[in-house]
Symmetry: C2
Subunit: 228 residues, 2 copies
DNA sequence: CTGCGCAACATTGTATACAGTCCCGCCAGG
DNA sequence: CCTGGCGGGACTGTATACAATGTTGCGCAG
């Protein structure tokens, strides 16, 4: 069976990965991040294989990779489960993320170009005029940061931030917050934009302000405050 | 076939992973880090399967995980190759590693216990009396940092540093340096030890001093110097 | 009614089989 | 001598088959 022969809902004509494994990898990651598979849920290989009309092999290999990315957790001989983050784990991830986001912003600021700035500005504008669904808001948020990660120019930094935040997005996909809070969070990106655009200030302060919006426990970052 | 039935050189009676996949994962990682498989070398699934007396399936799954860890690189329909780092990539990794090592040291210092300190001290003593092989020196180096990573108390920080440095060790496994240089590098750990033990100072400075010992290009870290 | 044991089923872990692609060398033509 | 096509072998990607473990639900004893 080839990728093109695959049936069902899994078509993304934009870029077709040439192996089933890569296709499944993308598809599963997208589904988990979108909240279609909820944290703690078991991912049955045979069922997935039937759904996608392929054998279990590419699915197992894709799951192995997702495991390494932290999106799923393997319980030996019991199956793969969507990773369920405890409050403590969320905080640990965020405290690490803070350090890396700050570094990304420093680097991005140093290498900023008008093109990237325009792109960021566009995203922030969309955020401020945002009226849509929760999932779209999360996508905008993710996109904003992704642009900065890439602009930082260090692929390893980019990859690390991606693999740290993806489980967070999966975790928050279910979370219900009021539109007001969502707007509040989104609007804070303007401050970050100003920083990477060259405004004076310490990135830590802006990011702390941003991430503490219900994401983190500020108490945990005393070491950062000292370092800044 | 079970793990116990496996033949050949692959026995590690300390902890036997219950699945072949996990066993192969450890074994391959160890071999790559030890320099037995050199960067750029192709890892033939069928050959490995014959060598380990198992089928290709557990090997492919282990390789999928190693790929995600950055130790091997997949070229579609051509095979898995031990990741070969360019000079630029080594620098990118090290520039990121610096930020994380500094964070780990701040956290470790804040949570330091006499037990951990004693362990670190023991390793540094071993370093200063070291007379053995290159591989042992690298192991000591790795162990010193690993203790600090764990003492920092953030599993994600620990995991990230591990997956960043492991390819570096594989990369450096071949490198030949004089005993003098090796001693010089090793001895610098005393300064790091002093910092995590509570001595005043900025971790960045000690780490910069440490990592620049032939590992990194100091020019790249202006942003850190500013932040520090 | 409740708790335990056991058997049938479901699912994972691994092996084997097969299909398509890549690579390398050989040979013909320029 | 060099170049380009082409055939055979080797290898990866995927499917199917089998083994072993985990799970579930039912019967039975207390």
């Amino acid at each position: 069976m080839t990728v093109k022969e695959m049936t069902g809902e899994a078509r993304e004509p934009i870029t077709v990965p040439s192996t089933l494994r890569n296709h499944v990898l993308r598809e599963l990651r997208a589904r988990i991040v979108a909240g279609r598979y909820k944290p703690g849920e078991r991912l049955n290989e045979s069922r997935l294989a039937r759904e996608l009309n392929i054998s279990r092999i590419p699915i197992r290999e894709a799951l192995s990779q997702l495991q390494e990315q932290g999106l799923v957790t393997n319980h030996e001989r019991r199956g793969m489960f969507v990773t369920k983050l405890s409050d403590e784990e969320v905080q640990q991830i965020n405290s690490l993320r803070m350090v890396l986001e700050a570094e990304a912003m420093r680097l991005a600021r140093a290498r900023m170009t008008p093109e990237v700035l325009a792109e960021l500005s566009k995203v922030v504008d969309q955020m401020e005029n945002w009226e849509g669904e929760l999932i779209d808001a999360a996508a905008l948020d993710r996109r904003f940061h992704a642009i900065i990660w890439e602009a930082a120019g260090n692929p390893y930094l980019e990859r690390t931030l991606q693999s740290l935040t993806t489980p967070l997005f999966a975790h928050k996909a279910l979370e219900h917050v009021s539109n007001e809070i969502r707007r509040w969070r989104l609007n804070h990106h303007r401050a970050l934009l100003n920083y990477v655009a060259g405004a004076p200030g310490d990135p830590m302060l802006a990011i702390l302000e941003h991430l503490r919006m219900g994401y983190t426990d500020p108490e945990r970052y005393s070491s950062l405050a000292v370092g800044a």
